[in-house]
């Protein structure tokens, strides 16, 4: 009934009549042990219920086998899936995910303290903003970090990213080619880097196509926020030909707002495009034309880069960009 004492390598060694080193070597791959000893040790270990203590191993090898994954609340809705995918991918590389969340920028210091403390082998940051000062800190601690879905061309950070530029231009081309003249952009929260990137790309490209001063309104990536943003805007403006939404959830909100409150329909009265390719985007009531993020490629690449950096910390930074795939829905009208 008492707090049961853990079985250590010494216990097994004593019982099996070998040294502690021998036990240790049996549980390390690629170390030289005679068949006889190995069998003896494995047998007693199983009998006694011995498992090497990962903590002790971490201390001496200076490898925790853990990767910090930083989630920010600004994360887009498909991030949970990303997390589970990352976890699987990292498990294949014998790494465990230690989860951290970063909600306020001013918690950053505390977060970093925590990360150093846990001696993680590497870090993957989802949608969190890291300025170059923080990135330098990672370099100083020689902790590799990969930024997920961020594109920081000027910096020398490791990043994986969906090609927002290409994707958004592709959507806008579709709209432009089918003769849409006036546009409205519904952007994500302006403290999200991804949101800003998507907004800017759309603004600039429309400008390039000769469409000046496209209005922008802001949501928080959520359904309601898009609806009320649009509702507000329409109090003093008229419906454009097309609405470019920074993600699918907001596109869904927009479609519902148009249907319910304006009694109009998409794409007949206005075209809508989204971004992300979440599953709801293809539900019968929406069928949004959007860009699907290549999530599995992105997560795999993030893990690959991280593993490479853990192996070889001085390697140069790398940015991998993946092209999303166009999902042709039924939310664009040919005018």
């Amino acid at each position: 009934m008492s707090k049961q004492k853990r079985v250590t390598s010494y216990d097994v060694a004593r019982e099996a009549g070998v040294s502690q080193s021998a036990v240790s070597r049996v549980f390390r791959p690629g170390f030289s042990v005679s068949k006889k000893t190995r069998e003896k040790v494995v047998a007693t270990a199983n009998e006694m219920g011995y498992r090497p203590n990962a903590i002790a191993r971490m201390l001496i090898t200076k490898q925790s086998g853990m990767v910090a994954v930083i989630l920010s609340s600004r994360a887009n809705l498909n991030y949970p899936e990303v997390l589970s995918e990352l976890n699987k991918e990292l498990a294949l590389n014998n790494k465990r995910v230690l989860l951290f969340t970063l909600d306020d920028a001013d918690e950053l210091d505390e977060l970093l303290e925590n990360i150093w403390t846990f001696q993680v082998d590497g870090v993957i940051a989802l949608a969190a903003h890291f300025d170059s000062k923080s990135l330098d800190l990672f370099a100083k601690h020689s902790t590799p970090i990969v930024l997920y879905n961020r594109n920081v061309p000027e910096s020398n950070a490791n990043t994986v990213c969906c090609n927002h530029d290409k994707g958004i231009k592709q959507l806008i081309d579709l709209l432009h080619q089918s003769n849409h003249k006036s546009y409205l952009i519904i952007a994500g929260p302006d403290d999200s880097d991804v949101a800003n990137e998507r907004r800017e790309i759309a603004q600039n490209y429309l400008h390039t196509l000769g469409i000046q001063n496209t209005p922008v309104i802001y949501g928080d990536y959520g359904y309601k926020s898009a609806r009320s943003a649009l509702e507000n805007w329409l109090k003093t403006n008229t419906l454009p030909d097309a609405i470019i939404c920074s993600n699918d959830v907001m596109a869904i909100g927009v479609i519902d707002e148009i249907k319910q409150n304006l009694n109009l329909s998409v794409p007949d009265d206005v075209s809508v495009v989204g971004f992300d390719g979440i599953s709801a985007a293809s539900w019968y009531n929406y069928q949004i034309t959007t860009i699907q993020q290549p999530m599995k490629q992105l997560t795999k690449a993030a893990v690959d880069i991280l593993m490479e950096r853990i192996e070889n910390p001085q390697a140069a930074a790398e940015a991998r960009v993946f092209t999303g795939s166009l999902i042709t829905g039924n939310s664009i009208k040919t005018r």
Copy 2:
């Protein structure tokens, strides 16, 4: 440029002209250190960039400060949010989440090995099935475990759970009172305990109300699965008065299937209820009458119970059940 050597408590001690013990005490709360020493140590520590090594601390204190969270792929769609909520709640208790996934039952042994290895302080299992044999193993290792959203009345496991019984009966009462006579149940995958529980409750309660042999068809909790299950079933059957879906996503699938392929509508031609209270359930096109799981209460309770068990491992097992709240949508017709 070389792999930089970590700063240890000895380094700080030497620099500050105190003993290593002194440094250690400065960084432990509630230990007796003179103001002078504390200031000296804190100053040099900051200067040298010293942070206590959590791994070494774990080894000596035998507390890893980590809680394993086990995700199964059978998890319902709202689990990602649960994960992030759990993480926050645990962080408040100074615990970190170490993520594990369990996809196949036959990976269980490996998973458990891993968990013991990492010396986690406790475990929270989301939707994963643990038989009493595995639960005994946790007891043997004196690792507290809390099952999230499982109700195992006979066992002495720690569980938190939404009151499926009450919720589902509430929904069925609504249907029954508004004069629905014939029913169809769309259940979740039959290797999910929660799915089976929900199905059984519905079946039994309908039976209690005098409605015999309600047909059951199965989906996998996903949109498409519900649509095709219903489509198949309708090849040889006619539409019932009401369809009881084991989760909201399948209810959404059903509504779309009815609209798109049958050209009928909900609730005019058939009533539909769901379960979970996900955000999409209240989107304009669906407005499902459903039961919202009290997710924050559930997660908080799971963490509370776990913390109590970590404090006091011999305490008796506890099951906390929370009542979900009815969301009145527009998917039930008064007949």
